[in-house]
Subunit: 207 residues, 2 copies
DNA sequence: CCGTCTATCGACCATCGGTCGATAGATATA
DNA sequence: TATATCTATCGACCGATGGTCGATAGACGG
């Protein structure tokens, strides 16, 4: 009748199931009852671990952002890759679609998931800006980059990288993506004030 | 007992009240009953005109976007202003805060209003991209601008103009805004490939 | 005066997020 | 072993919400 588990285990179960549901059905469209049914617990148990449905959402977002940040850190510290390529890869690694990882977030960007999306953007920017700021500073010192507003530029790059490719705001055809990516990279180069074409080899990956 | 009005009038009443409420309290936090109470109609009447609460939202967004587009058209056709300034003004005119207009949308960007926000962004981009594409083409012909991806650049400029200043995603202090705007304008100049500093006089407005 | 059509009404519904007191079972106490 | 304590679990219950529907009031043409 009563299945008792250690607290942390239950909590993770709930988070796992909720993430899957939020991401496939949308946050609004997922009821707490949906979660309960799959985890197979009673309502009281859910609210024993989380004080609201929204708190679960926030926890999930934090996980997702942290995973992206970890990927970025990994990428940025590999000094064998040209700096500007590392920066671009770090930005794009926030959208695991491009990484070949299971496309967990494919569904995250539907209009009905706006809450998820917006909370994600805000959290991701907070976490990622310092990382990229460091990388840009490195490029400035080495005289690779020439720009006056490093932080603002980093914010813009992150925002664009996310919105342009991570979001159903742009309903592009598949065949449009190469040119969209080219355009994006070109503009990033210009913002950073590096020589045009620096990213050409990096670009091959998407041609 | 029964107050009968012509269909279109009722519809506009509902839209007006709903807009005010969505924008001040948030979409999720505004119940259909809240609207009914103010318009002073029964539930059936509301659902006689709109098939869902969300349909009302979509209609309102469309209005807001159209108003912004009208302002942009007005601005863009004033040939007495330098082209690049017109473009920037058109972008910023999408955020009426900067226009001195009553800040209807100040509240639009809270996290709880994500749905409103996202739908707006998508609709606005669809409507505004062609307008700005025309302006950029004009600058290309006149050899003012130098860029290879006009459409993609326009999309990026609109997205940034909206997200950076129109959105609570960035929780900046008031005193940070001048530098944020400077950074934004600088990057826009670079994307368009115009001479650096072209926007300096335009910039005075925000210093 | 009658029939028709349209706009309006409000009772009703399923579902939702969230609360709470009861309690089963594990653990500590004696 | 018996008892007290604590923690994780249960599910009935709540008010509010978005949405439905059959009834009907009133305008209008004949």
């Amino acid at each position: 009748m009563k299945t008792v588990k250690e607290g942390e285990v239950r909590k993770q179960e709930i988070l796992m199931v909720a993430r899957e549901l939020f991401v496939t059905k949308g946050y609004d469209q997922t009821s707490v009852n949906d979660i309960l049914k799959i985890v197979d617990i009673a309502k009281g148990t859910f609210y024993y671990y989380f004080k609201s449905k929204e708190e679960v959402l926030a926890a999930i977002i934090l996980d997702i952002v942290e995973e992206g940040a970890k990927r970025a850190e990994q990428i940025l510290k590999d000094k064998s890759v040209p700096l500007i390529s590392r920066i671009m890869m770090a930005i794009m690694a926030q959208s695991p679609e491009f990484e070949g990882s299971e496309a967990i977030r494919d569904e995250m960007h539907k209009v009905e998931n706006a809450k998820l999306e917006q909370l994600y953007t805000k959290t991701m920017l907070k976490r990622m800006t310092p990382l990229l700021e460091g990388a840009v500073a490195e490029g400035l010192e080495a005289d690779f980059f020439h720009l006056d507003y490093p932080r603002e530029t980093v914010e813009s790059m992150l925002l664009l990288g996310h919105m342009l490719f991570d979001c159903n705001i742009m309903d592009w055809e598949i065949e449009e993506y190469p040119i969209k990516i080219k355009g994006f990279l070109t503009n990033m180069e210009r913002m950073l004030g590096t020589g045009e074409g620096e990213l050409n080899d990096f670009l091959q990956m998407f041609a």
